[in-house]
Symmetry: C2
Subunit: 170 residues, 2 copies
């Protein structure tokens, strides 16, 4: 989580050079993102548990399926959520057991399964989503809309570049 200064190896004549200072600023950006992210995530987990007896990964799956009118197959689902393939299997298993989603065999590909919300799942998700938006709004209540727009733009750029990087790596 926290980290230390180790960047005096660029060999400038004295003290910190520009590259090192920039590097440190970026490191601090990351540490702040991480801190905020963990604080919010922790609170969301807690509230989902206490008020709805569920978990964040379950919510994430339901949200992804709610947005996908026709459902998603397992690969698409793990892609959207950015988690491993095998991971989704377990969460889906439990949601199926709770009758919130169903696995439907794909007509012309016997390997694949499409996962979809049930009516019960949809109703359930809408309750969760209402709470979720309220909680986030409450936690970020101090953020003015103008600041929010700026953060959205900045973080959007960063995210986009990270996505591109990843695409290139492969």
């Amino acid at each position: 989580m926290s980290v230390v200064s180790t960047n005096s190896r660029k060999g400038a004549a004295s003290g910190l050079d520009a590259a090192s200072a920039a590097s440190k600023a970026r490191l601090r950006v990351w540490l702040r993102i991480l801190k905020v992210s963990r604080l919010i995530e922790r609170e969301l987990r807690e509230r989902l548990r206490v008020e709805f007896d569920t978990t964040l990964p379950r919510f994430d799956v339901l949200a992804a399926l709610y947005r996908a009118e026709k459902g998603l197959n397992m690969s698409e689902l793990s892609g959207v959520l950015r988690v491993s393939n095998g991971n989704v299997t377990g969460i889906v298993d439990r949601l199926v057991a709770d009758r919130l989603i169903v696995r439907v065999p794909v007509e012309d590909d016997r390997r694949a399964m499409i996962v979809r919300l049930t009516a019960k799942g949809k109703t359930h998700f809408l309750e969760l989503a209402r709470g979720h938006e309220d909680w986030v709004n409450e936690m970020l209540g101090s953020v003015e809309t103008s600041d929010a727009e700026m953060l959205i733009a900045q973080l959007g750029d960063i995210g986009k570049r990270l996505d591109q990087r990843k695409a290139i790596d492969k």
Copy 2:
């Protein structure tokens, strides 16, 4: 991870009212933070695994201990890392087994244990930290210093307020 619009319940005469728009902007801020955070975290995990055969939680513990000259007891450690008490026990167990840290009984409190880096642990951590800063710098390479400062300030404010909230709740 992703979420949906459910905030048309504030009863404005037509369309979205100001509160609802603000709420949605904040929700998007959160979703962007979450996305960036997960992308970066995933890459850091991957690199720590491939290049150093270790994990992010282990790195976090080592970093916290590196910053604490005299070590930390288990409660302080879980406090700094913002994870549960029991969680730290397991990670510390494994780091102790690898001789990277030691548990030292506290003289005047037989319940407590202080955890400290060994010389080996310190050396190991410095290698990790060097890689870590480089990777972050690379991933956020596109962020100009002026933007970085702004993000640091904004996210710092958000983090501070969330900390305060938490303190008040208790």
